[in-house]
């Protein structure tokens, strides 16, 4: 364990673990906020360096390790680092607005930071997992801490959302663990220690019986799909996303779901010899289209702001599944672009809820209307988020969806790609309707000067605009780049 990538793979999740403990021990809210800023910046910077290292070819750690820095995990690691950083930076603003909590009043803030950093550390480790067993342990580890965060407000609705999340995702992960036991049984004797590494699994899949391989794959795919939030096993998602504190909602939607999806992707790649490559692609496409089909009707309904964003997560996880299922340079480039663009736009949308709920407390359970007169700056941020998520050009999500659908046609999945275009168009129209009728309509709401989080959301809006435009420009170069070539080789 002496090479820099191998060391980095262990330090990246360790830093937020240590940081979370130190922040929880800090004596005053002011010192906690300061330690939070320092801890978040250092943790995210190191994770960013690790991701860049892996992407430019430095991450060539041997695969039979518990944690591995590789090119496929790098974009996911970078996204988890970015969303975690932004969520940590906006957390003090959220905590200033929080009036009651799941935890005892005197220690609520410390518990929040401790749970948040434990969650972030586990999320940073998931893309680095070099072994299916460790990946399962990490994903299951995210459940406990994130359930506490979902219920942080202590409201009845938050308790309901947290409990549902805990129960449903644990049931899913239990099913997935049965698939892991089947794979462990099929591994050659004597390979117990690293028999579940991605490379060893690939070898095992080549020699195990087809019925056992298919059963293990289906148990793993179905079980992990519960945590990714793919339809039809997504029931926890709208409740948890809408009830969690906004910084946690961003982590759930933009970091947790894609990180678990990476585990599904790695598992599918490893088990393809047992299941058959066309079958693996078909299952991803089926889950993708079904998730889109389930999400679209909700994007047309008048929903509370965070619930609307939650259903948009279901839609975008469907788009990512389609990209993985289609495969090839265009679709893989689309996946990387979509992953990043979705993370930025969705996080901004959730952060906007902090000032929004002060201006309009009813917006936590009712659709937003006529906000333009109350706070044009906030409307600009929310519109940027919603416009980007809907795929309105020049949003990078427009280009990523074009790349993914083109990849589908190039790979010969004409019917799937055509149906995806139809569903994406419907989804776009639904969100555009909310944008025009809800956010941009004029209303007579009161204008308040002192709104906590307004300044932070403005800064995030500026940063998000720059990043989204940069991503849109990158779309032109990404499909032919070395990074995508490397990822396509890795995923073929």
């Amino acid at each position: 364990m002496t090479s820099p990538p191998a060391v980095l793979a262990y330090i990246v999740p360790a830093l937020p673990l240590v940081g979370g403990g130190l922040i929880a021990l800090a004596p005053t809210p002011r010192s906690q906020a300061w330690a939070n800023r320092a801890g978040a910046v250092v943790s995210a910077a190191l994770a960013g360096i690790a991701a860049a290292w892996a992407l430019i070819g430095g991450g060539t750690a041997p695969p039979d390790r518990w944690l591995v820095l590789d090119s496929l995990g790098a974009p996911f690691l970078a996204v988890v680092a970015l969303v975690g950083l932004c969520s940590a930076l906006i957390s003090p603003a959220y905590l200033r607005t929080s009036v009651r909590s799941f935890f005892r009043p005197g220690r609520a803030r410390s518990w929040y930071y401790l749970s948040f950093y434990l969650f972030w550390a586990a999320l940073l480790a998931v893309p680095l997992a070099g072994n299916l067993g460790i990946a399962w342990v990490l994903v299951e580890g995210t459940t406990g801490v994130s359930a506490l965060l979902v219920a942080y407000s202590g409201r009845r609705s938050a308790l309901e959302a947290g409990w549902k999340y805990l129960v449903l995702t644990t049931v899913g992960l239990t099913v997935a663990l049965l698939g892991i036991v089947i794979l462990a049984a099929a591994a050659p004797t004597g390979s117990a220690v690293h028999g579940l590494s991605w490379r060893a699994l690939s070898n095992t899949a080549g020699i195990m019986s087809r019925p056992a391989g298919v059963t293990a794959f289906l148990l793993l795919f179905g079980g992990l799909a519960t945590k990714v939030g793919w339809a039809p096993v997504h029931n926890w998602l709208p409740d948890a996303h809408s009830e969690a504190p906004p910084p946690v909602s961003a982590l759930l939607s933009a970091a947790l779901l894609p990180a678990v999806m990476l585990i599904v992707w790695r598992t599918a790649l490893a088990l393809a010899p047992a299941v058959g490559v066309p079958n693996v692609h078909g299952i991803f496409i089926a889950f993708g289209l079904f998730s889109l089909a389930v999400a679209v009707p909700f994007l047309w309904r008048p929903l509370a702001w965070k619930r609307l964003l939650a259903y948009s997560s279901l839609e975008h996880m469907g788009v990512l599944a389609l990209g993985i299922g289609f495969g090839g340079p265009l679709a893989v480039a689309g996946v990387v672009l979509h992953l990043t663009g979705h993370a930025i736009a969705k996080s901004l949308g959730f952060y906007s809820a902090i000032p929004l709920f002060q201006l309009r407390p009813a917006a936590s359970h009712r659709p937003v209307r006529g906000l333009l007169g109350s706070d044009p700056g906030l409307v600009a941020g929310m519109s940027l988020s919603l416009g980007s998520l809907s795929g309105l050009p020049p949003s990078p999500l427009f280009f990523s969806e074009v790349l993914i659908v083109s990849g589908g046609f190039v790979a010969g999945h004409n019917a799937g790609a055509a149906f995806a275009v139809f569903l994406l168009a419907l989804g776009f129209l639904g969100l555009a309707h909310v944008l025009v009728e809800g956010l941009l309509s004029r209303g007579g709401g009161p204008r308040r000067e002192a709104v906590i989080g307004r300044r932070e959301v403005r800064w995030f809006s500026i940063g998000a605009t720059a990043l989204l435009l940069a991503l849109a420009a990158l779309a032109a170069f990404l499909p032919g780049s070395d990074v995508i070539r490397m990822l396509v080789e890795r995923t073929s």
């Binding site: 067993g133 406990g144 308790l159 549902k164």
Partner: protein
């Protein structure tokens, strides 16, 4: 693990589907987990030292979870018994039929013995059925533990077992999860005056 022990574990799981009192259900699940641990320790002499440690972990886990659950139930006495929406006989019949159908359709999974495979899958189905069929939060927790016991039985049937680090990770995760679920149980009880999950139905679209 012998065929009799494996199906004995399944019988204990089915009893949890039927019983009404939380203390009795906790006792049954603890007995199931302890039997697994003792069974694992009895198999250890012919296997690796890791197997011995795994058996010890299973036994310890059963005691920790028992203490945690009994402590919690004592702190949260229900004002009146929570009746499941379906009668016990109907519940257990439905679970048995579902389990038999799944076992009939299930291909060989490649674990040590066919009976261990069937008993493991049966326990996972019974655990999930307990979560679906019962209203009390404590029964949901017991459903998790029954399903995890099924997975532990499957892992013990694998020739080399699961890697020790993963066994440890799974155990730590389960204990963390049950601790978090217990915290939820207490908060739900404090907020609603009962730990009845049928009251958690306010969020709909």
């Amino acid at each position: 693990m012998s065929v009799a022990v494996a199906w004995g574990l399944v019988t204990l799981g089915l009893l949890v589907v039927i019983v009404r009192r939380r203390y009795v259900a906790i006792g049954l699940v603890t007995a199931q987990a302890a039997a697994l641990g003792v069974g694992a320790l009895s198999l250890a002499p012919g296997r690796s030292p890791e197997f011995l440690i795994a058996g010890g972990i299973l036994l310890l886990r059963s005691l920790v979870l028992y203490a945690l659950l009994v402590f919690t139930v004592r702190r949260t006495r229900e004002p009146r018994p929570l009746r499941a929406p379906v009668a016990p006989l109907v519940r257990v019949t439905a679970v048995v039929v579902l389990t038999l159908v799944v076992l009939a359709l299930m291909p060989p999974l490649g674990l040590g013995s066919r009976s261990a495979e069937q008993a493991s899958v049966a326990l996972v189905i019974i655990g999930i059925s307990i979560i679906v069929a019962r209203r009390a939060t404590v029964f949901h927790l017991l459903g998790f533990i029954v399903a995890e016991n099924g997975l532990a039985l499957a892992a013990l049937s694998v020739a080399g077992g699961l890697p020790l680090l993963i066994e440890l990770g799974v155990t730590v995760d389960l204990i963390i999860l049950v601790t978090v679920a217990v915290a939820f149980h207490e908060r739900i009880f404090g907020e609603f005056g009962t730990a009845d999950t049928s009251l958690l139905r306010g969020l709909r679209d």
